[in-house]
Symmetry: D2
């Protein structure tokens, strides 16, 4: 089969490689769409922990396709099933996995743990193997390109579930209009938040957010976002603030916007330590939640949400490329060419 | 009656004042012991929001005594009941109060909200009034001086409940061997944590912690606390880290010590913004909880714990003073004279 | 003012009575719509505990109207505000109230507790007083008659929140197509359940449920409901079963339909003890939740949901009557004349 | 090795069989103690679902011993480790297992699921294999016979965790003074319940409960247990009622004893449907929880509790027998000869 193999730092090349063979509890998937994620760019530039060697590693963890072969114990799927996937298979024997927290597996890269596209081969290939735990059937009404974004939706849903999951009538702020932020806006509306505020710096992206359901957009170049939130909530602050920007200002802004006894959910975070006012957090009894990946089978919940039409991921897929043009795909995503939001690679097109 | 009235910044004087009259849902308490808290020192130096005027305000929020009169609707207590108190009475009509989060009342100092010793008169007086919601009976076996520390125990218990409340067999770290830290050690052991680590800088206080049940003490002048915790937990980190030191290093140390999917509980926090590595928090799926005061009726739970003998607060009461010597009480506490941990004022001794 | 006063068993009469005067934390509401509930029929036939004497008591607990006067401490509302209400005001001093569970107040009918239309006067009158805790503003887009059903919606939402509140992609069964059942169907869909099954005996009501969003209706005169649910869920059972029928078979049917580790929510229940298979519950690790009233401020959440258009209560209001025709309203509701679902009384029409 | 093999209904015989070989993630355990459970009696009388054929099946699921061999991927244990076990290994690929609820595995007896002593061979043998997920190290201070009861303790702890896990200062009732009931008394005290009531019919067993910490015993032949509980809780009812008797009256008694908004935990249940008053449950907002087995790694928590000395299981081990005398062990347990509570078989003694 054809696959995009990482040959060295930022050097990915189309190669002819062996089609993988599914293990007893695996399926073989013909990949129809694999979406570019910013972590792809990061791990191609500099290897992540547990990453396979140059010359052997196929990245790509956001993909969808069709089941073409089954491991010997698999009766959960049939050949021909259209499917989406999640990245993380836990070792299923560490304490976290045993308690259901498989994306926080304590045996990362060991003892059966797999993170496809990170520690095992991923979806920038014509075929890929997935353990049944990481595969979800999708109905015919869901396109492969939108289905390839299911890990994004699963991650956002995991965040909402972690923060309690019940937000009917609540005031929700989303900081950062990237893919996770825009999906957070959609999910907050789908789960019946009363008002959703979207905070960012780029007018065009904020506008996308408005079209996806944000009730109020706040351009921090134009307005003081904390002040706006306080005014719009009669001085109380928001019930839930979701930080997705990963900017240095993000955590503190989120802390300042949440109401007394409110919740903060970190879906993004700055790589370096930053300043934050823990006294504001402590005195006002705010709690701060995080998520790692797309846990608690929320990718499955996400497929249902997608199929219902209550969340729309198609609008986020702005570009697609054949597998042979994968470098163009990365450049388009990285430089946001043509207003790129999510960029999809189609491995069956070479 | 005699009371210690705040006359100006750091100027507290013994005065003869009117004995207060309980409202319909209040009781009048003869105060037998009122413990000094660091917030007393802070608000005497510089008024807190909602604090009554100089010349009118009696501080003191950690007290215990005997019921001597009842408001007209009170049948929950009888004259002669020995009682402990909590500081916060919520307005009981804001959103937080209605949902049970009365210490996070959104009408602080208004609409019936009271924080005795903060926004209404407190316990450095021979008599004080308390709404029935803030009063808990204590058995004869519990002394007044230890009962005056019940808000401390209630706050710690509220923290444990907020962080899930079930820690059987868990590894718990407590940072900071002040009163809240020492009580956290005791509560962690009482709730059947497997091992409790106490981190601090002062050998004598750490030694007190060891006597109260800490399995391992870590003097950060001698050892790298984060490294010790990682070693002692086979590299995993602690299930629960309770930061009580309020130091600038506290939050980051707590974040670094918690295991993947672990919990951090802030009972103390630095007043000024400090640096913290949110990427460590986010990538490892750690959650951070805070508490405000002694909520969810945990002072009542604390009385039960105290009466059972599973937690000992008597050992924390190192000094006591007559009401007339209140300035000595404050100085002893502030300067930790004679190894002072908690210092109690006895208003019936003038 | 004119009011419908209960003069004896099943004897309600239109009387001229004193317009009530709001207390310090109350508002006076001009009632525009008050919906008939089956509990009205029950308490008119035979007094409920805490019910005021014949000749003094105005029933009706599901109402909406306009604020016309404010108690002295009220700044949460203004004269002219359009509002919906909830029935329960807790005493706010018992253990349950203090912890936020005010509908389960331990001082029912005492110490400030009010259940309007049960222990204090209700909405079958031109004016009624409500404590601010029990009042929610409604936008102009929401009609008074649909707003009068907000306690129903609040009760259903309270049930969902009690059972976890997060059902994205779940399989939900609703037993009983009465008002609570039909609203449960709507809420389950609004909260993004994957499929909602509605079980009942009356084809016309089931058809209403289908129009409100039920994906599959099951007429137990035609099909074995338990078997259908097992087949439709590949033998697993439903994630959440909501029993609203109050029939003798309801609890056991709900137990049999829930999956291993599934949840059962009782919104209705038979008055008399009935048989149930606790071994099925225990061996399969199913949990059973109940609710009392419309707690945790879910009436406020319900107003938001109503205003968003995601839930429609207008379709449930099948009939309305002037206050003078209240007996016709009760008969229409009781006998389900003309396919009556919810019947509303309009007190401003005499 | 020697093992007790089930040859037919109630026909267990000592046989020489092949010593099993551990799979890649298994350990081989030399069994030092295996406790008799009432489910052993049940499945020997009539096979349970998934049970291996007569002539092949070795029962026994409550055991402890020493690790003597390791599967190729095992680094969690070392040869010589003293260990206790839990019965359930989930398939780790069904929905329940993936979410951490492995004792409620949806693939019972299939796809890698094992329930040792139920669907795979158990501990009435000199050696047994266990997947690492089901093994917990025990310190030298814990004897093998008490460690063989760890599934009982794990089940009780799982119940407490399911019901919230935080009971400091609460009133707890335990119905049924069998092994699970007696351990529930111990755990309730260890977790700092204020008072624990033990309800039963046999004076001698109630007396054992008193010695294990019950504050008040209630012999239902002497007293009306519901009435006693209401009186002792000032009419409110208990915060938590744990039904372990499995009697026909158990569920209804538990429902009647729980306070408004209280919790009921079913650890035992009658095999046949029984009458229960769901209106009492519903009107008073009581919730009913169940557990299946010893989930959420509570056997590990139990080992810690045992090692701390806060719970004592030694006092429950009243008798022990050599493997060759296993029939005597069963009879002693079944007929409660000599006041038998838990009876242990020692397979190394033949």
């Amino acid at each position: 089969m054809k696959a995009a193999v990482l040959m060295g730092p930022d050097r990915i090349e189309l190669k002819e490689v062996q089609t993988p063979i599914p293990g007893p509890a695996d399926v073989l998937i013909r990949v129809e769409a694999c979406a570019v994620c910013s972590s792809d760019l990061s791990l191609m530039a500099k290897p992540w922990p547990g990453q396979p060697s140059y010359g052997e590693f196929i990245p790509g963890h956001e993909y969808a396709g069709t089941v073409v072969a089954l491991g010997e114990t698999v009766d959960e799927f049939r050949v021909g099933d259209r499917v989406a996937v999640e990245a993380h298979l836990g070792c299923m024997r560490c304490r976290n996995c045993r308690l259901g927290n498989y994306t926080a597996c304590l045996n990362y890269g060991k003892k059966g743990h797999r993170a496809n596209g990170f520690t095992t081969n991923g979806g920038y290939a014509q075929y890929v193997i997935n353990h049944v735990n990481t595969v979800y059937p999708i109905p015919d009404s869901v396109r492969f390109d939108e289905a390839s974004l299911i890990t994004n939706l699963g991650c956002v849903l995991y965040g909402f579930e972690t923060a309690g999951g019940y937000i009917v009538g609540d005031q929700v702020v989303v900081i950062g209009p990237g893919p996770l932020g825009l999906i957070s806006v959609e999910v907050a509306k789908a789960l019946c938040a009363q008002r959703v505020f979207l905070v960012g710096t780029r007018a065009s992206r904020l506008e996308v957010g408005r079209n996806l359901g944000a009730d109020r957009i706040i351009d921090i170049h134009q307005e003081n976002a904390v002040q706006v939130i306080l005014e719009e909530t009669k001085g109380m602050g928001a019930d839930l603030v979701i930080e997705t920007s990963g900017s240095a200002e993000g955590p503190q802004m989120a802390i300042a916007m949440a109401r007394r006894m409110g919740k903060i959910l970190l879906l993004g975070f700055p790589e370096e330590p930053v300043n934050a006012d823990f006294s504001l957090l402590g005195k006002n009894n705010k709690h701060l939640y995080t998520v790692r990946g797309e846990g608690w089978t929320n990718c499955g919940r996400g497929v249902s949400l997608l199929a219902s039409g209550k969340v729309n991921l198609k609008r986020l897929v702005t570009h697609s490329f054949a597998l042979g043009d994968i470098s163009d795909a990365f450049r388009t995503f990285r430089e946001r060419l043509g207003g790129a939001i999510k960029v999809v690679v189609e491995p069956q097109k070479v």
